[in-house]
């Protein structure tokens, strides 16, 4: 499966949030808007972090929020929320976070191709900063398609 398509519904730019939970819930709402998840998915992503710690902050400034496949996932989906002001997740190395990705996966069997695409994009160490600075959905889409060019 390729990276789920990003639309105006699944991208939110310059969001103002009080804390990491609000940031992750916004990513959940974007997945709901784009038809990938049911409303409870945002809370499931928050619960993963409450349960296991802030391991989803997998690179400096970037959180990859996700929960497990389940009834809250309607389709494979990706959402991007960039923050006007960074928030801390309590991660030992990679705080503060400026870009939150929300990932919904229907089945673990098929997700590795999409994750490989994410690696293609973010193995470029400039991609996170470029996303944080982006001001339009088109800019975000261009950065995220960088890996497949």
């Amino acid at each position: 499966m390729p990276l789920p398509e990003l639309t105006g519904d699944s991208v939110e730019i310059g969001a103002v949030v009080a804390d990491w939970r609000a940031a992750v819930r916004l990513a959940g709402l974007a997945l709901v808007r784009s038809g990938a998840a049911r409303p409870q998915y945002g809370d499931e992503m928050v619960r993963m972090i409450e349960e296991h710690g802030p391991y989803v902050v997998i690179a400096p400034g970037l959180a990859l929020a996700h929960a497990r496949p389940g009834p809250a996932v309607l389709a494979d989906g990706l959402a991007i929320v960039t923050l006007a002001e960074p928030v801390t997740f309590g991660h030992p190395y990679n705080d503060p976070v400026r870009v939150v990705l929300g990932l919904a996966i229907k089945s673990t069997d098929t997700h590795l191709a999409a994750v490989a695409e994410l690696a293609n994009v973010f193995n470029d160490s400039n991609a996170i900063e470029a996303l944080a600075q982006a001001t339009t959905v088109a800019e975000v889409q261009a950065i995220m398609s960088g890996g497949s060019e």
Binding site: M48, H52, V56, I58, R68, Y93, L112, V115
Partner: protein
């Protein structure tokens, strides 16, 4: 050689570790089987030589014969290369 990448869900972060570890191992010309698993399937990691994970899961992984490598930046293939080379002695 068996390498296991561990995260809370078995998707997303451990998947990225798997993909990038495979890329690095290919460059180093090391043959290895890399599996992404979640914490609840830790028994899959029992016969692994190397476990790749983030700092949050070291305690949950507990005692193991495998070399547990903590990765800070999952997209930094240089970090992965250095740490895998140190662990595998290549």
């Amino acid at each position: 050689m068996k390498i296991v990448a561990i995260c809370g869900a078995g998707i997303g972060s451990s998947g990225i570790l798997k993909v990038n570890a495979e890329r690095v191992l290919k460059k180093l010309d090391i043959e290895a089987d890399v599996t992404a698993v979640h914490l609840d399937s830790l028994e899959m990691a029992r016969d692994a030589q190397v476990i790749l994970t983030s700092a949050e899961f070291v305690e949950a992984i507990g005692k193991t014969f495998a070399d547990v490598i903590v990765i800070e930046n999952f997209f930094d293939t240089d970090e992965l290369t250095t740490k895998l080379q140190a662990s595998l002695g290549s």
